[in-house]
């Protein structure tokens, strides 16, 4: 017994994510690009929800859509103050485009040709409760290390950005 993802929802969310990513690259305004990034993150959270990863969808909305977007907007406001810095044409960089297209094409080719991936989705997926229990038993030590990493990042960011006397 295998289950499938809701097709219409998946295609809508995938279209939203890809459209947002392309708009993020093609817009002239850095602030608009940030808002498009936010939209991509929200669409990804929707896909997580469709995949049965409720906790990750919540974390995605909190961390990426909340914190990262706001942090990026603050940085744009603090650094690109003049309008001509924040709004300007981005010419198409053909070299970068070719490299990215080559990479993506290679990955898609490998995906089609060389590996057999399962298409059916297993019917049962553990819920939020099992996720929490597993996180605080099996993954306890990595969890603590992750909190140390965040603490170090916090202190480092404060050290770098704070004060003119350094």
């Amino acid at each position: 017994m295998s289950q499938t993802l809701p097709t219409v929802a998946f295609y809508l969310l995938a279209f939203a994510a890809l459209y947002g990513a392309i708009s993020m690259m093609s817009t002239r305004n850095v602030v608009h690009a940030t808002v498009w990034l936010l939209e991509v993150m929200l669409a990804t959270a929707g896909i997580y929800l469709a995949l049965g990863a409720e906790f990750l969808a919540l974390v995605q909305v909190l961390v990426y859509a909340g914190a990262v977007a706001v942090l990026t907007l603050f940085t744009v406001m603090l650094t690109l103050r003049r309008r001509e810095d924040a709004v300007r044409p981005f010419p198409v960089a053909w070299g970068s485009l070719a490299m990215a297209a080559l990479f993506t094409g290679g990955v898609l080719l490998a995906l089609n040709g060389f590996c057999s991936v399962p298409t059916g989705m297993p019917a049962t997926a553990p819920g939020l409760e099992d996720f929490g229990r597993e996180l605080f038993t099996t993954w306890m030590v990595p969890f603590e290390i992750a909190s140390l990493v965040l603490l170090a990042a916090l202190i480092g960011a404060v050290w770098w950005t704070g004060g003119d006397d350094r």
């Binding site: 499938t4 994510a17 690259m25 990863a53 990750l56 960089a93 297209a101 996180l135 992750a146 990042a153």
Partner: protein
């Protein structure tokens, strides 16, 4: 027509490619950081998709995605702090302005 793992992997590869293009082509440090976030997002999508389709009971991919999110959150915090520090010294966040080591 059902949606399977290949669809998710294709979506993720496309998102990664768009992020790669942005990270390679942009001259603005903030925009480069945003493109890096897009790439990290695509990788997380891969992890969650594999977790759901291959080992849904163990949820290993979901935990990997959680820790990957921790690392990329730390990265964007430090990276944008670094951008602010560079802006304070140089009054610019253009990558072309940072070429002291260029031979």
């Amino acid at each position: 027509m059902t949606v399977g793992l290949p669809h998710l992997l294709t979506l993720s590869a496309m998102l990664f490619g768009i992020g790669l293009y942005g990270a390679l082509s942009r001259k603005n440090a903030v925009h480069v950081m945003m493109s890096l976030e897009l790439m990290a997002n695509a990788v997380n999508l891969n992890l969650v998709a594999f977790s759901r389709f291959v080992t849904p009971e163990a949820m290993t991919g979901q935990f990997f995605a959680v820790f990957s999110m921790v690392v990329s959150a730390a990265e964007i915090g430090l990276g944008l702090g670094l951008v602010l520090a560079i802006y304070r010294r140089k009054r610019s966040v253009e990558l072309d302005a940072m070429q002291e080591l260029k031979g």
